[in-house]
């Protein structure tokens, strides 16, 4: 935190929706297809073509609004935002200006520094994306309009954030929510979740906001943090040198770690918005809102509370497990099959997440299903295998897809709980290590760990460690 200046950050996030078709025409929104293969007269901006609104986009907008405590506007309209750029075939972008679909929302974010804090959401509006430009060597640019007319929600925050940490906390939470809602795939690199940051500074105690600059091209959480921190330093330097911050758009260059002014676009900022006569007003009834509300999934915040209150999980576990919707679903299915939440949590956070991370897989690709994992846990419970062997069984299942019972049977991993058999091994271990036995009997009780280890090793981990411990104690005190 700077001692002289307060940092003020507002964020604009473009959330690309996962609808099958574009916002105003029936062309597919699939990523990565041949250029211009997903176009029609509407998204090409051909004369006479008329846009028709995709109902799913409105529903997704309502979902986003409800999940961020917004008021859903009973009446909302579309506007034309006029500017010329080759990626925008009509010469205007259909967006919302007056009367956006959602307004006056908020989210509670949490940072280590300050704890919980409420960030206002000014508005959420629906709009179409522009096409994609590729710059060629021969002094030309190529235009691909597959992305043109793809549905976006723009989520605009109040300038309520005071540090890059808070900005990142807000963005991560918003990202989590839209992915949970299933309205966005959340892929930052492919541009499904794009952030612009408005950054300004002001002397502590000053009420008026300082002049802001708008940072663009921020496609990872790390870059966003870097870009904001760089911008704050830059503005402090400008002011300290007696200069004035000018309002401008700056493009962040992650390779160089600096931002550059994009003055070329400055004068075009007069967009001359007006209501789009091609689109009818939108009326959203209370019934429709309630219908969407009933379809909302449980959001991470509520899940975290429930995991703690109903399942007795520590806050840390609840946070990790609820972070991703699919992971939370995996965990909840597991708990239904094996009703010891903390043990389930340990396995999911330990073995499952560990193995996924190592193999760079997502939870949906996990070869050990909750059913298969529950099969392992049940065999630990009935003493068929030890916890240590269970981890080997887990790996075997990961490779083969077989059930725990099959693996235990085939590999002969069944735990030895027969006292006679364990006694033989214990006797062998004690006979082979007379020095350590003497030490133990002389009062060095830490040696017990060594003996248990030897017994486990001699039995290839198949002895019930509790029983081994008991027997060792008994023999050593004889």
């Amino acid at each position: 935190m700077n001692s002289r200046y307060e940092v003020v950050i507002g964020l604009e996030v473009h959330v690309q929706l996962t609808t099958k078709t574009k916002i105003f025409c029936g062309c597919s929104t699939e990523f990565g297809q041949s250029p211009n293969s997903q176009t029609c007269p509407v998204c090409l901006g051909l004369p006479g073509a008329l846009p028709v609104l995709n109902r799913q986009v409105v529903e997704d907008g309502i979902k986003a609004g409800l999940a961020t405590n917004c008021q859903i506007a009973p009446r909302s309209i579309f506007a034309r935002k006029n500017y010329f750029y080759p990626d925008l075939p009509k010469g205007y972008q259909i967006s919302q200006f007056e009367l956006p679909i959602c307004e006056h929302g908020w989210m509670d974010i949490e940072t280590e520094e300050l704890g919980q804090k409420r960030v206002g959401i000014t508005r959420i509006h629906m709009e179409e994306d522009a096409g994609k430009l590729l710059h060629n060597e021969d002094n030309s640019s190529s235009v691909d309009l597959n992305r043109a007319c793809t549905p976006l929600l723009e989520v605009v925050s109040e300038p309520d954030m005071r540090s890059s940490e808070e900005a990142i906390a807000y963005l991560k939470q918003l990202h989590q929510i839209v992915v949970y809602l299933g309205i966005c795939d959340g892929n930052l690199e492919e541009g499904s979740f794009r952030c612009d940051a408005n950054v300004s500074i002001r002397p502590w105690g000053q009420k008026e906001l300082g002049t802001r600059s708008e940072l663009k091209n921020l496609n990872s959480f790390r870059f966003i943090k870097q870009a904001i921190e760089y911008e704050v330093e830059r503005q402090i330097d400008v002011i300290d040198e007696g200069g004035k911050v000018v309002q401008e758009t700056r493009l962040f260059d992650p390779d160089a770690g600096v931002s550059r002014s994009m003055r070329s676009k400055e004068e075009a900022h007069d967009y001359r918005y007006f209501p789009d006569p091609d689109l009818l007003p939108l009326q959203i009834s209370e019934d429709w809102i309630e219908q969407v509300r009933r379809q909302l999934p449980e959001l991470p915040e509520a899940k975290i509370v429930r995991f703690q209150d109903e399942m007795g999980l520590p806050a840390y576990d609840a946070g990790v497990l609820a972070a991703e919707r699919r992971l939370a679903e995996y965990f909840e299915v597991l708990v239904q099959l094996y009703n010891k939440p903390k043990i389930c949590s340990n396995w999911v956070m330990g073995e499952v997440l560990g193995a996924l991370k190592e193999k760079n897989l997502e939870i949906v690709d996990c070869p050990v299903s909750p059913e298969l994992l529950a099969g392992i846990l049940l065999r630990i419970d009935d003493n068929t295998i030890s916890g240590k062997i269970a981890k080997i069984v887990f790996e075997e299942i990961w490779q083969s897809g077989k059930t725990a019972d099959q693996v235990i049977e085939e590999k002969g991993m069944k735990q030895v709980s027969d006292t006679g058999a364990i006694e033989v091994i214990v006797d062998e271990v004690l006979a082979a290590n007379p020095g350590q036995v003497a030490e133990y009997r002389a009062g060095k009780e830490k040696m017990m760990g060594f003996f248990v280890g030897q017994v486990m090793k001699a039995s290839k981990g198949k002895v019930n460690p509790g029983m081994a411990n008991q027997l060792l104690k008994k023999k050593l005190s004889e």
Partner: protein
């Protein structure tokens, strides 16, 4: 005057229109007349009347989220002055 020649120049520039100086004068006086007419309309008391967003008294024209066939790359590009590699070609745009 409701509008200055400078305003008209600015609007023309934003719309990528080149107006010669006589044209500019004609446009300025015509636009001034239009704005004068709007001023006349503004004399009406419209308090309590909801602004009209559309000339047609309808709302909620939707499509379902169902894929319709695209028109094909060839047809998409057929009117383009220049194209290549399945893309429209334009003079280089510098960011």
């Amino acid at each position: 005057m409701k509008i200055s020649q400078k305003d008209v120049e600015n609007v023309a520039r934003l719309a990528r229109l080149t107006l010669e100086s006589e044209n500019l004068q004609v446009m300025t006086s015509q636009m001034d007349a239009i704005l004068g007419y709007v001023d006349k309309l503004n004399e009406l008391d419209t308090d309590g009347i909801e602004p009209m967003a559309h000339a047609v008294p309808m709302s909620n024209a939707f499509r379902q989220d169902e894929i319709q066939p695209a028109i094909g790359i060839e047809r998409a590009l057929q009117n383009a002055p220049a194209f290549g590699d399945n893309c429209f070609k334009v003079p280089k745009v510098i960011e």
